[in-house]
């Protein structure tokens, strides 16, 4: 069971039997329960806040409002948190903003007391409309009046060549507007925080994709040293990005526990999840393509409008992928921001590239029909051998192989050239494809690996498990480097007392944490073997290091002398220590993207077969085939489940998911899973994921790249393209709704 083998999930049984300890399951003696009262208006000044009923309610021990809450140091503007904190002033900036926090001796009593809080507001008009203003028919000139958001890691605008001139003279050109609605992450597990103080030291059990981020932001806000804050997150019931940043509720729970002088647990309700931990902004995309008659791109322009919360600055560079997908001498991308009265939007599985992909890949499909060319052929004709915007070579790229593999497995050659050509009973049948693409994010990480005297191995790293398989592949990587069976290896994670690791976002863990684990395990192997050959009591005493061979059960022999046997466990036992351990680390060079001389991306080709019920306009995905170029695959089994999970994510994005807004009330209309549809099993047809053989020598020492978000890209565009092929109707606004297809 080395790297590359199909090890089953080590934590599968724990999860399906309900014995995994999620944050809200954590038992802390003397625990009290916190519940938020929240604002029903989106922009206002609190004129009066009557909490007398809540304070008198049975079981209540503490009520915190902006009147009595100690002042916090607001987080600095930046990437991982909000600068605006509730309960610090009389200002309301979004609907659902906490106006009071109640602590009581039971959850029900806290909920009841929260319902007794009586606010009165001086209400201001709220800004909540976006697609209405920038929808399909809006005036393009508005774009230039909007702000940009610049973040260290990337540019909002890029330009190579002269796209305007090239568009003007291109033999074939098209210009289209695409829109995508607001979406919420909706992980199965709502966010939860348990705060417990011991003197001036704070322990937070928290649903976070980044224990270190929580530690630094909470410490900063409360004026603590980072070392006085411990953050623990053992299992997450999904995050998809909404547990990546640090949100006000995490800070406020810590504060409430301190003021109430007892450990406090806060679990957000499902509806609070829609206004407490981000969302994915709606986006408006203007895409223009110019091409020669034989399908070579001469100009690509992609403008994006997205939303930010009123005081915040979050970059959603949805056109970032457009800078690199296709070879083209003239490419321009721009991003502009509309300010809304909402919680801050945040990254959601496949941000940036994942969003713009729908627009660009739809436009490419439109161009293919315009040219009378097979959409796959059009992609191949514009294959980029180097990054067209920076001129850098790709660190590795086998997208051409992925196109061919995917097309072959799917049976793309059977595709009818014209739309609306195939019918199966009541269904119109269509095929569509798109390119998948995702940036490679990498973060520095450290790990420790310990070999104990009983031969068991523990990997320790302050990373998080959000369902991706970290608890499986990290032991697998350590076992590979140690040369033993992974059944002997466990991982301890999700704790800031462990070596520091990057956040579990940006599809980065395998590269960052995996490389650190590999480094530590390699060093540990060496340390143990060195101990053995220096130990007179060892059968291997004075053997040559290069001759030694480790067997899956941990036995060590010189190559070719099976009887001269020692074992990892025996070496540790004789050392008199409890364990022998080694630390390892890995960091990408340079800036956050740290890609140096290379353009670093993962790629794929997605093919779908959709059935559109001709009478009702209902679209179902019968089959989705993805072939990916994504570096070395550590565990094909967990990797495939990442990709098929991403495809389902894409099906939701294409066909079901949207958080409607009510501009007048300044709120998301439906804050529950009955009003916000995610796919059920019946919506998901046959899914197939394949990987081309690839090693990326530059992305990480393992040769691996990130895959978790790649699978969620390409799918929505492929579905929209297949819907066109099935029906002859081009849908440019997601989600694809039946009323658009009632031809």
């Amino acid at each position: 069971m080395r790297i590359g083998s199909e090890l089953s999930r080590k934590d599968g049984r724990l999860k399906v039997t309900g014995s995994a300890t999620y944050t809200a399951d954590t038992q802390v003696p003397g625990l009290h329960y916190a519940v938020f009262a929240t604002s029903a208006v989106a922009s206002a000044t609190i004129e009066a806040l009557d909490t007398s009923g809540a304070e008198r309610a049975p079981g209540v021990v503490y009520v915190m409002t902006h009147h009595n809450a100690p002042r916090l140091r607001p987080p600095a503007p930046g990437f991982g948190s909000m600068t605006f904190l509730p309960l610090q002033s009389d200002q309301i900036r979004y609907e659902g903003q906490p106006i009071a926090l109640i602590v009581a001796d039971s959850l029900e009593r806290a909920m009841h007391a929260a319902s007794l809080v009586r606010p009165s507001y001086a209400v201001r008009p709220a800004q909540m409309s976006m697609l209405e203003r920038f929808g399909p028919d809006a005036d393009a000139a508005v774009f230039d009046t909007l702000e940009t958001v610049t973040q260290g890691y990337d540019e909002p605008d890029t330009r190579t060549g002269d796209p305007d001139a090239a568009l003007g003279s291109a033999p074939v050109s098209l210009s289209r507007r695409y829109t995508m609605g607001f979406r919420h992450h909706n992980p199965m597990e709502p966010s939860a925080t348990i705060a417990s103080w011991d003197g001036d030291r704070l322990t937070l059990y928290d649903t976070t994709q980044h224990v270190w981020g929580v530690r630094s932001v909470v410490a900063e806000a409360l004026g603590l040293a980072a070392d006085d804050v411990r953050v623990v997150s053992l299992f997450l019931g999904g995050g998809f990005g909404c547990k990546g940043f640090v949100w006000p509720h995490e800070i406020l729970t810590a504060l409430a526990a301190r003021e109430a002088r007892r450990p406090v647990k806060l679990v957000l309700t499902r509806s609070q999840m829609y206004a407490a931990c981000g969302y994915q902004s709606a986006t408006v995309h203007d895409v223009a393509l110019g091409a020669s008659r034989d399908g070579r791109l001469v100009a690509v322009a992609h403008d994006v409008v997205y939303a930010n919360a009123v005081p915040e600055a979050f970059p959603e560079y949805a056109a970032a992928g457009t800078r690199t997908v296709y070879a083209c001498p003239a490419i321009a991308t721009r991003h502009r921001v509309v300010k809304l009265n909402t919680i801050q939007p945040t990254a959601m599985r496949a941000p940036n590239e994942g969003m713009g992909n729908f627009a660009l890949e739809s436009a490419m499909d439109e161009l293919a029909y315009e040219l009378g060319m097979d959409p796959l052929e059009l992609r191949l004709r514009n294959y980029a051998e180097r990054d067209p915007t920076t001129g850098k070579p790709y660190s590795s790229k086998k997208l051409r192989e992925a196109y061919h593999l995917g097309a072959e497995r799917f049976g793309w050659s059977r595709r009818a050239p014209h739309p609306r050509a195939v019918r199966d009973g009541n269904d119109l049948v269509g095929y569509g494809m798109a390119t998948a693409l995702m940036t490679t994010y990498r973060f520095p990480s450290a790990a420790r690996v310990r070999m104990r005297a009983d031969g068991s191995v523990v990997v320790e790293s302050g990373t998080q498990e959000i369902g991706t398989g970290v608890r499986t592949i990290m032991p697998q990587i350590a076992a590979d480097r140690l040369g033993i069976d992974p059944q002997h290896v466990e991982i301890v994670l999700g704790d800031t007392t462990l070596p520091e690791a990057g956040g579990t976002f940006g599809s980065s863990s395998t590269m960052g944490v995996g490389s650190a684990v590999a480094d530590a395990a390699t060093k540990l192997r060496l340390a143990i073997l060195r101990t053995a050959i220096a130990d007179k009591a060892s059968p291997l005493y004075e053997a040559r290091l290069e001759d030694l061979e480790v067997h899956p059960d941990g036995a060590v022999t010189p190559r070719g002398s099976p009887t001269r046997r020692d074992a990892y466990a025996a070496v540790v036992a004789r050392s008199g220590r409890e364990a022998i351990e080694a630390e390892g680390s890995w960091a990408p060079g340079g800036d956050v993207l740290g890609t140096g001389d290379y353009a670093m991306y993962t790629f794929g080709a997605v093919f779908v077969d959709v059935r559109v019920e001709a009478d009702f306009g209902i679209t179902r995905v019968a089959r989705c085939v993805g072939a990916y170029s994504a570096g070395r695959i550590i565990n094909p089994k967990t990797a495939r489940s990442q990709m098929t999970g991403g495809m389902i994510w894409g099906i939701g994005q294409a066909l079901l998911e949207q958080s409607e807004t009510d501009a007048e009330l300044g709120r998301f209309v439906s804050k529950n899973l009955a009003g916000y549809l995610v796919p059920a099993n019946a919506d998901v047809g046959a899914l197939e994921a394949y990987f081309v053989d690839e090693v990326d020598p530059h992305a990480s020492p393992l040769g691996a790249k990130g895959i978790g978000e790649l699978g969620a890209t390409g799918v929505a565009a492929a579905i929209a393209n297949a819907v066109y092929h099935a029906t002859g109707v081009r849908v440019r606004d997601l989600p694809i709704r039946p009323e658009l297809l009632l031809g």
Partner: protein
């Protein structure tokens, strides 16, 4: 959440007596009621648990009628062989409702009394909704109205009724049996739900404290040749965008009698009596069904901004049901 008193009744008279307490409300499967409690949609003083009323659990398929006890679970009714054979629209509507887990718990009486899925009614916070807080206004009038009614709405409320099986019951002329402080009575299905007018808070004509004991569906040729078509965006576990229950009694290839009810389009299951009349005596063909749907059946439809498509979709659902029942080309 508000504190409340919980009482368990063991027979109907005890249930009725307990229901006389101020703010009392019955609880059966609790699959709806618990949501309301959590969202603050109801704040009952007393919950009267009726799950001990064993008489209300029976499904009686004696010749001539189907009598479904109010406490029969949706899954039991859906799986009942006689229901599937003689009242297929009822069984089909049930298996397409909610999820298996919910159907195992949810009662038939509770199903009829589920309330609208209008997102403003279901909101986590108080937003204008006359059904929920009379006099507060109707946010859907100005806001999100894609799921709103096209028939029967008023300026006070544009919500639809979400029950699937109620649509089948409406088509098959079911009767609701109730017991109340003033005794027992039978309510024809057409009179069970009411239109919002200026009192959208009252979904039905049930009187305070009345208990549903059973739903009775007369056996008929229409019932035996009936179908339920549900159009929804998610393939399962989702309410209808529109739905249609259609029953046809044939004399050879000629329609003797037709019954058509629509779901998802009105505050109550919406019978298309104009179309039913237009079909009587006509050949059972798709063309005849289409013609009947164009013969003024939708003249009362008043679509709103985002839900005009429901007119077309509803007609298509009816045609699909007719095709399923064997309508000729």
């Amino acid at each position: 959440m508000e504190p409340f008193i919980y009482r368990r009744a063991t027979d109907a008279s005890q249930a009725l007596a307990l229901a006389a307490a101020p703010g009392a409300i019955f609880i059966a499967g609790g699959t709806e009621l618990l949501n309301w409690l959590k969202e603050g949609i109801v704040r009952p003083g007393t919950l009267v648990d009726i799950n001990g009323l064993q008489d209300l659990e029976t499904i009686d398929t004696a010749p001539g009628r189907l009598r479904i006890g109010a406490l029969a679970r949706m899954s039991e009714v859906a799986a009942h062989p006689a229901v599937r054979r003689d009242y297929p629209a009822v069984a089909e509507a049930l298996v397409r409702s909610a999820s298996q887990q919910l159907r195992n718990m949810a009662s038939m009486g509770g199903n009829l009394l589920q309330r609208t899925r209008c997102p403003y009614f279901r909101a986590d916070a108080p937003v204008p909704c006359n059904k929920r807080a009379p006099g507060s206004g109707c946010a859907a009038l100005r806001g999100a109205d894609r799921h709103a009614a096209i028939f029967g709405w008023s300026d006070a409320c544009v919500a639809t009724h979400p029950s699937d099986v109620a649509v089948a019951f409406a088509a098959l002329d079911a009767v609701v049996h109730v017991q109340g402080p003033q005794g027992a009575r039978e309510v024809p299905f057409g009179d069970f739900y009411r239109l919002p007018g200026d009192r959208p808070q009252d979904d039905t004509t049930l009187r305070p404290g009345e208990l549903i004991v059973a739903i009775e569906v007369p056996a008929s040729a229409v019932a035996a040749r009936s179908r339920y078509i549900k159009v929804r965006e998610r393939a399962s576990y989702e309410f209808a965008l529109v739905s249609a229950a259609v029953g046809i009694d044939l004399d050879g290839a000629t329609i003797r009698n037709a019954r058509i009810a629509l779901g998802g389009v009105a505050p109550k299951p919406w019978r298309l009596r104009v179309a039913e009349r237009a079909l009587a005596g006509r050949p059972f063909t798709v063309a005849a069904v289409r013609a009947a749907l164009e013969s003024g059946a939708f003249s009362e439809a008043r679509p709103r901004r985002a839900n005009g498509f429901k007119v077309d979709l509803a007609k298509r659902a009816v045609v699909r049901a007719a095709v399923g029942l064997g309508a000729g080309a």
